[in-house]
């Protein structure tokens, strides 16, 4: 059966045909289309079939009594609340309480005062309309949220496509990137140059979410394109600064560290603008060099003031380059304690080359204890050794 939405349906259940008629007249005056049943079992069948907006019912009935009927109605109820008003000759305090506890919304003792019943029905209608406004608002919110999610997903797919242009796999390279939101303001890039060097970039765009991810996309594109063509790190950062400065508002910037690793010359060249010091660690866990931040982040200075000078470290024995963003050491647990630099240094010192990244990752996750970090976390480790099979 299909009903137009503005017709309200009521179900009247009473073994007295007379009583059903009286109540039907009253309900019709209140704008209801009325169905009647003379026993509980029939009432359940009609309830399931017609899905009424209101139920008026007796307690003492053949086949299925009223209390059982209330339970069945509640079991079959959808999200929408359907008021049940019990009209019963059983007017003791205990009967009333039992009826209400079973799930009735109101209880009137027979003989029924029709004026009181009418005003009870009106007040139930008021509550129903409030509920439907509430439901409608919730539905609109859910819809808006779904739309937003969908757009974010689409944007994320686009972003991932752009980022996947760079192949981040390299036998010496391990990394961990943990985004606080859908979009990461952190970015790790790796690119093999035509003359056999490995270019690495770790970037951390200010802010969070989508607005932070956009500048990193621009930076990633420049990094990959120019690296593949064999441009030097100074040329690449200068171009990044020029391009993003023209694009970003005054208060936005991209902190980044770029590296060029020459496995034959055993040299690491670095430009660090605003990232925590990258560490070069030897086999025994000693820090043998730090690439400290020596520059303002990308997109703060005009090109003529921008400094693209790099520093270089030459290694003798096998060592490991560890790069991370501040999200790692600032990762806060529930009590607001940060993971901290001392914890990081201690893990580095007490673990052997090649295992450190996994241990740091594990300890950071333990520290966060399923909390989502407020900031993106990036961590990268590169094994620097001369004999490279590639």
């Amino acid at each position: 059966m299909t009903d137009t939405q503005d017709v309200k349906l009521a179900l009247v259940v009473d073994d007295s045909v007379m009583q059903c008629k009286v109540l039907s007249v009253l309900l019709k005056e209140e704008g209801y289309r009325v169905f009647t049943a003379n026993d509980g079992a029939r009432a359940v069948a009609m309830y399931v079939k017609y899905k009424p907006d209101l139920v008026l019912m007796d307690i003492n009935m053949p086949i299925m009594n009223g209390l059982e009927l209330i339970e069945k109605v509640r079991e079959n109820q959808t999200e929408t609340w359907v008021p049940i008003i019990v009209l019963s000759a059983l007017g003791d305090e205990e009967d009333i309480i039992r009826g209400l506890e079973t799930g009735a919304d109101d209880y009137l003792s027979k003989p029924i005062n029709l004026s009181i019943l009418r005003s009870k029905i009106k007040s139930m209608q008021k509550m129903i309309s409030l509920q439907s406004i509430n439901k409608h608002t919730k539905e609109e919110l859910r819809q808006a949220n779904d739309d937003l999610e969908q757009e974010q997903q689409l944007a994320k797919n686009l972003a991932d496509n752009i980022l996947s242009q760079g192949n981040i796999e390299h036998p010496c390279l391990e990394y961990w990137l943990c985004a606080a939101k859908h979009f990461s303001g952190d970015l790790i890039g790796a690119s093999q140059t035509s003359d056999g060097r490995l270019h690495i970039m770790v970037a951390d765009s200010s802010g969070h979410g989508l607005s932070a991810a956009l500048p990193t996309l621009a930076v990633a594109k420049i990094f990959h394109t120019m690296s593949e063509k064999g441009f030097s790190i100074p040329s690449i950062v200068a171009e990044m600064n020029l391009a993003t400065k023209a694009m970003l508002p005054e208060d936005r910037f991209v902190a980044a560290a770029l590296f060029s690793i020459d496995f034959h010359q055993k040299a690491i060249e670095c430009w660090n603008g605003g990232l925590p010091a990258a560490l070069v660690v030897d086999n025994s866990g000693e820090i043998v060099h730090e690439f400290k931040s020596e520059n303002l982040a990308i997109s703060i200075l005009a090109s003529e003031k921008f400094n693209s000078r790099t520093t270089t470290y030459n290694w003798d024995d096998t060592c490991e380059l560890i790069v991370y963003t501040d999200g790692l050491i600032e990762a806060e647990n529930l009590s607001g304690e940060q993971f901290g630099l001392p914890a990081l240094l201690s893990v580095i010192k007490s673990n052997s080359l090649g295992n450190r990244l996994q241990v740091i990752k594990q300890q950071t996750m333990n520290h966060l204890d399923a909390e989502q970090g407020e900031d993106d976390i990036s961590l990268l480790a590169i094994k620097c050794q001369q004999e490279l099979e590639s």
Binding site: D204, S206, G207, E250, D251, R252, F253, A255, G273, G274, L275, P276, A277, S293, E294, N295, L296, A297, I300, D326, D375
Partner: protein, 98 residues
């Protein structure tokens, strides 16, 4: 955040956390200070946490100060904040009084 105006310099005192939540109130605070040559002194002694949005806020303040031929001075940053300023290399942009 407390703002005071003494002998032409605007002093801005930041509480425990300096982050994106202060963005609007901070902008409102300095927007009306248009007297030529006004210096903005940012007191960060009590601040223990500062995120990248806060650095962005300082960049905006610096931009505003330069438009009216003024300066931004960061005064007495706490140890934690000083580390962040050091990594960001902000001493290359403005004066930091330790």
């Amino acid at each position: 955040m407390v703002i005071s105006n003494e002998s032409g310099d605007v002093s801005i005192l930041i509480d425990d956390r300096f982050d994106f939540s202060q963005h609007q109130s901070f902008r409102d605070a300095y927007a009306d200070c248009n007297t030529s040559g006004t210096n903005f002194v940012l007191e960060l002694a009590k601040t223990t946490y500062m995120d990248s949005s806060a650095l962005g806020i300082i960049l905006l303040l610096k931009d505003h100060a330069e438009k009216i031929s003024g300066k931004v001075i960061i005064r007495k940053p706490s140890e934690a904040v000083n580390k962040i300023l050091e990594i960001a290399q902000f001493h290359r942009l403005l004066k930091i009084e330790l």
